[in-house]
Symmetry: C2
Subunit: 509 residues, 2 copies
């Protein structure tokens, strides 16, 4: 750090799409993660951790015919010039782990994992390049009971987080049904030339929530120009084909949206549209089994609904797909808070390594989005931790006494700190205020002589200072400030904290 570099002072700044996270959000998210962990554990999933970056090839992030990784991931080379990438989800590392340790694992293998993932994508409002996921996956079985279980786990997770029944819905579909309806519209999916068309159709249907039926219709046909003038080319289907697909989507949705139909109603509506497609019938059978299991466990369509327009973005899904949505619970047409989790069956991921298919299904909670939604639902306000009590330094020579007071309070389970700066009273009070301290503890010469300490209730003090207009009366009364004997310090501070509904550290765990 010498020479010319020393002259240049770097500007303190965050990389694009990155953010710092403050104490309130960290505490709330910690609590959320604890709740989610408890639900996942109760279902028998075991935790696993994998590293933040992996070889790019094991993540499947080389583009065809290129030697550089996909631009959607953050990549760099190691000392042997092998490409490494930061993980962009928790599923690709799981596939690597399973392939690497296959023989020693119990089968099915059930794990949960939480941690940050990174995307080298354009950031935007609420879209960051680092965010946290919380995944549960069951690997090594094609039993559709595993899919049903994940939907139920999702519902239980939102319930455990305090979301009332009616405010969360897990919407379920099956990719095989979508393929079936595309086949019954006369598009042969065994023909590789129709591969791109199939994806365009899926993507069009996926936009139903955002664009409505009209928008989907345009995207199934020639294409669509949005408000900004951008043009998206469509699937180029014929009018009869478009009509068949739109008919399918609407028929199985009912008039009042998914919530108004039972799961059996939806399945029956789908069946009348499927025609002879074997793939489609397969998918329908799978959903029938899921319905049976969920109904046996007492779970209605208000919690887990079937919804034929659910597609999910990831190409690798092969069977049931699910999406969790939160809504405000006030009123019938509750506005959506958006998707806060999703998942589905992916039978091909481990095959990339092993050559043979290892069926798997998973569900992933988007922790950051869920946090934002729970905040809007008012589910995160209850448990704010108390700020520490602050011991003011009235006389620098007596620092050791103040230090000991802080220690005494902590031993009693009360968050406490001695003011560690070197400024005077005014700055110390300002500091206590900025920290949100419930009270400050004061012991100057007079108090010491009397063997007392003074406690100033900062929260009550602020309230009273707003109420009492007469400054003199305020100074004389000082009702938020009281003195106790030195031996009563702990009790007095605890009473002030309790007065404002605070608790001892860790008491809410």
């Amino acid at each position: 750090m010498s020479g010319k570099k020393r002259e240049i002072r770097p500007k303190p700044r965050l990389p694009k799409g990155m953010r710092d996270i403050d104490a309130a959000e960290i505490r709330a998210v910690e609590q959320m993660l604890g709740t989610i962990r408890q639900v996942y554990e109760s279902y028998g999933f075991e935790p696993l951790d994998t590293p933040a970056f992996e070889y790019t090839d094991t993540l499947g992030k080389f583009l065809p015919d290129q030697d550089r990784p996909n631009e959607g991931v953050f990549s760099f080379q190691d000392e042997d010039e092998q490409w490494l990438s930061l993980r962009y989800d928790l599923t690709a590392p799981l596939a690597r782990f399973v392939a690497q340790n296959y023989d020693g694992l119990p089968k099915p293998f059930r794990r949960y994992q939480t941690g940050p993932v990174w995307r080298n994508e354009k950031p935007g409002p609420g879209r960051f390049r680092q965010f946290t996921q919380f995944d549960a996956d069951t690997v090594g079985t094609d039993n559709v009971a595993a899919d049903a279980e994940l939907c139920m786990l999702a519902a239980d997770t939102y319930k455990a987080l305090g979301v009332p029944r009616g405010s969360y819905t897990i919407r379920v579909n099956n990719r095989k049904i979508l393929d079936g309806i595309i086949e019954s519209a006369g598009i042969d999916l065994r023909d590789a030339n129709n591969h791109a068309k199939r994806l365009t159709i899926m993507r069009a249907i996926d936009k139903l929530d955002r664009l409505g039926l009209g928008g989907v219709e345009q995207l199934l046909g020639e294409g669509r120009k949005d408000e900004s003038g951008d043009y998206t080319k469509g699937a180029g289907l014929e009018a009869a084909q478009i009509a068949k697909l739109i008919d399918f989507i609407t028929a199985a949705r009912g008039d009042g949206g998914s919530g108004a139909m039972t799961r059996s109603d939806v399945l029956n509506a789908i069946e009348t549209h499927l025609g002879e497609s074997a793939t489609g019938r397969d998918g329908l059978d799978e959903l029938r089994i899921m319905d049976e299991l969920l109904s046996a466990a007492g779970i209605g369509a208000d919690q887990i609904a079937f919804e034929p327009a659910i597609v999910r973005g990831l190409e690798y899904y092969t069977g049931p797909v699910f999406e969790a949505e939160l809504t405000y619970s006030d009123g019938g047409d509750a506005p959506s808070l958006g998707s806060v989790g999703s998942g589905g069956r992916y039978d091909g991921l481990v095959a990339r390594f092993k050559g043979v298919e290892v069926p798997a299904t998973g569900f992933s909670v988007g922790v950051s989005r869920l946090y934002a939604s729970l905040q809007k639902l008012g589910k995160l306000n209850a448990d704010r931790a108390s700020a520490p009590a602050i011991i003011l330094v009235m006389d620098k020579e007596r620092t050791a006494d103040y230090y000991k007071m802080a220690s005494t309070l902590r031993v009693a389970g009360i968050r406490a700190e001695m003011y560690l700066g070197t400024s005077g009273m005014k700055a110390q009070m300002k500091y206590a205020d900025k920290r949100g301290a419930p009270c400050v503890i004061i012991q100057g010469g007079d108090e010491k002589a009397r063997g007392e300490v003074t406690i100033k209730d900062m929260i009550l003090g602020e309230k009273l200072s707003q109420e009492i207009a007469d400054n003199q009366e305020w100074r004389e009364g000082q009702p938020a400030q009281f003195s106790v004997k030195e031996g009563e310090l702990v009790e007095a501070v605890a009473s002030v904290i309790a007065r404002h509904g605070g608790s001892k550290p860790g008491a809410d765990k």
Copy 2:
């Protein structure tokens, strides 16, 4: 994912120096982190999170006169060709955060942070390229009470983790004392030409624990050849200078190591060696104040000791430095478990951005090393979570019933899963065994007809099968297996789990 790439199957493997972490370690570490968090919170520190990577220049990781980052960090370029690096500690991001948000922060600013850090260094046994730190820092005060507090926080942390008094020591020194003793040996530190010599001397003293006095003596002189034949050039001091430094180190250590002397004894021994160095006397005064504060709080030299040979590797320390060591508690000369945390005062880090010094001090727990040490001390065995009870699928047609049983157990707070594979009885029992299930729940046609379920206690069963040699007696007795009415399922499973000391999920939180 088409074309030639498709043909090549990647080998599932981990990058060099990386590892997967299993359920037992994750659970133990989660619990450790919770305990550390509680101690840090009790001292009034607030949590902060910063992203995994930062601009390389804000981390201070450009080498002098080079435009590529230091090889010790993992680096890559963003779309604007700016260099980014994965954080290698939690202190550099803190300095960036403070410089960026300085005006709005309470001063002093006190935060804790935990998370992974990455080092692009040669991996070895127990040395990984990703590991977890847990830091507490106080920024914006030169008050030595802040340093004393961090030493006390360190001691409280190990105590809270169950390490008995006598098995942890925080060893404290002051860089100013080291500078003072170097000055009093006749080396002028105001002369920039002596900068490198100063670092070599510090590095030599730092090796006392590993090389002994003889090794340090060689490194202060011409140099030292180790067992492998590698030669390290020494500081090239004269014999009289070397003698003075060695004399200082030994005198202030006493005969029986640091534990045998009180903190005042050590300070007095240091004082007689310091001579007229103003810097040295400054450092001594700081340690005197720390001693006073710690003694007032009842903390003896068995917990926090002064030790003049403590240096700490990082160049940026400017005042007190501390190192936490765990030892086996059995016997007088308890063998060391090594360093499990360290810290010190660094008054220059934020100045890189702001041009003016912002005094700061911090302590960092090495979580992975601490985990390994606590394991050796036997402090992590108590709280192993129970594995889930497993409901066997005896009759595929009745999957919904089994599914409901799992749900019923979970609602009662018992970890439970229905077997989700599609294999027969033998494979299901093997699965339950591999998962470590405390019991399996069986309901075949006979049981169903009687309205009963059978519970097989897997742990007792294994024990008995080892004891009972006579196979026939075993089959007839089946003492680990019993049947109850369907309505008594929850109670019966709970009793089996309790029999083996297990608990409900989350009950240990």
